[in-house]
């Protein structure tokens, strides 16, 4: 005899069941341990590589054009290295053939870390919305950075590589008047949204020259005014370091001042590199009067201005890099500087342990013709 049965489902049980029923498999790209993109894994191979045509494109010289593939087969997620030059590492072990990828496992591909996760569509959509917003914020920050100058008496080149989507680094350069060009790099302590908002505030103040009563040709005045405008206590405990220089076209003098910032490095033809900095605390930490120094600039000299992230790296053996290691990579030959910043960035990456660099990488290169 058939027996009728009434089953009462509690809301709690529904709540627990819903995410699992909806869950799908995703390959997640991580940056500093945070997910930045989700790619659904299905029966069709999901390809990972450096080339434009891949499903997951990783801009990384250690990643092959076609590096690996992931797909669903017989209820399992399978991963296979496709003959990449530098290999694919599953939880630290190099793959030698197709392997089953278990939920929560990590793949190391060049400098990138990928993770296999099962998530509900809603969770992924929420993450994607957040990252779209962060992308917009990043695009805004990058739109504030000036285009490289490829001709004229002062030429520039730069690299800007935040470790997270948003960085506390910012820089700019441009004419103050017919006879003076300013260049500066700012580094707000920390990463992420808060640091980026603060660096954008500082950058906009400098770009708009919105420091009342300040002669922007005098670096010390600029730093004094910034110090008065951005005290830590009024800005959620945030401080920033800065290197600010002004080049006089008429007498070929570079005036500069720095606040808690690494020295800029000036390479004059036939001379050892000069370290340009003034010993002074970061902006916002205490009342202080900054000082300006000046140095003559020979034709053909090249100036490197950067944040500390360019040299505070960890090597493959765990050893920490320092400023002197970085300075040894500098010095440009030939007439142009186009591509010089990228060359230095790649040289630093080659010395660092695999994976993203530890800190934001901002490097500005200026050549005086």
């Amino acid at each position: 005899m058939a027996r009728e049965q009434t089953v009462l489902e509690t809301p709690a049980r529904f709540a627990a069941a819903t995410p699992d029923q909806d869950a799908r498999s995703y390959l997640v790209v991580l940056e500093r341990g945070e997910p930045v993109a989700h790619f659904p894994i299905g029966p069709e191979p999901l390809t990972v590589g450096r080339d434009e045509g891949r499903d997951v494109i990783l801009e990384d010289v250690q990643v092959s054009r076609l590096h690996l593939k992931v797909h669903l087969a017989a209820g399992h997620v399978m991963v296979e290295d496709l003959g990449s030059a530098n290999g694919t590492y599953l939880d630290g072990k190099r793959l030698s053939g197709p392997a089953v990828l278990e939920e929560g496992q990590f793949l190391r591909v060049g400098r990138h870390l990928l993770k296999y996760e099962r998530r509900s569509q809603r969770e992924v959509e929420r993450d994607d919305d957040l990252h779209r917003d962060l992308d917009k914020a990043r695009n805004y920050v990058q739109a504030l950075l000036p285009a490289p100058v490829t001709s004229g008496r002062v030429c520039t080149d730069w690299v800007y590589r935040p470790t997270t989507q948003l960085s506390g680094d910012a820089f700019s350069y441009g004419r103050i008047d017919d006879a003076h060009v300013a260049a500066y790099v700012v580094d707000v302590a920390g990463h992420g949204v808060g640091a980026a908002m603060h660096s954008v505030s500082v950058l906009n103040v400098l770009r708009q020259r919105a420091l009342p009563g300040t002669d922007f040709r005098d670096p010390a005045q600029v730093l004094d005014s910034l110090n008065a405008m951005f005290p830590m206590d009024a800005h959620d405990g945030m401080y920033f370091t800065i290197w600010y220089g002004v080049y006089s076209l008429a007498d070929r003098q570079l005036a500069y001042a720095s606040a808690g910032h690494p020295p800029a490095i000036l390479f004059a033809p036939g001379q050892p590199p000069a370290r340009l900095r003034t010993q002074a605390p970061m902006i916002g930490a205490l009342e202080f009067h900054y000082a300006t120094r000046r140095v003559g600039v020979d034709p053909g000299a090249v100036l490197y201005v950067f944040s500390d992230g360019v040299y505070e790296i960890t090597g493959p053996d765990g050893a920490a890099g320092g400023l002197e290691d970085f300075v040894a990579l500098l010095g440009v030959a030939g007439a142009g500087i186009h591509g010089e910043a990228e060359r230095v960035y790649r040289a630093v990456c080659a010395r660092a342990k695999p994976g993203p660099l530890d800190d934001d990488f901002s490097l500005l290169v200026v050549r005086f013709e």
Partner: protein, 112 residues
């Protein structure tokens, strides 16, 4: 990141061990601040076990140092490794938070 604390004659002695990068600071900042600031205690911090300091660590030291200064108390760091000391010098930290060579000098600075 490890943090060891003891109280000796009214001076809070803190030893930090590990990397004071962003994750390291996340691990200790609340404890570090809570141990020193609410009590308004003089503090000396042994950095001989710290391999690296990032900008957030410097921010932590400055914030606590300034909070203590408002209570007429001092925070003194001591025994930084050469690479860590280079970072302190590059940001002129000594103008805000004293950095001593060793424990005896730190105690003298905090009581001076």
């Amino acid at each position: 990141m490890e943090m060891h604390v003891k109280d000796v004659d009214g001076v809070v002695q803190i030893a930090l061990v590990g990397r004071l990068d962003s994750p390291g600071v996340d691990q200790v900042e609340t404890k570090f601040t809570a141990r020193l600031v609410p009590a308004g205690a003089n503090g000396v911090v042994d950095l001989s076990g710290v391999e690296f300091v990032g900008s957030l660590a410097i921010r932590m030291f400055i914030s606590v140092g300034r909070a203590l200064a408002r209570k007429q108390k001092k925070l003194v760091l001591y025994a930084p490794r050469p690479l860590v000391n280079q970072v302190f010098e590059s940001v002129s930290l000594n103008t805000i938070v004293p950095v001593a060579a060793d424990y005896a000098a730190a105690l003298a600075a905090v009581r001076g």
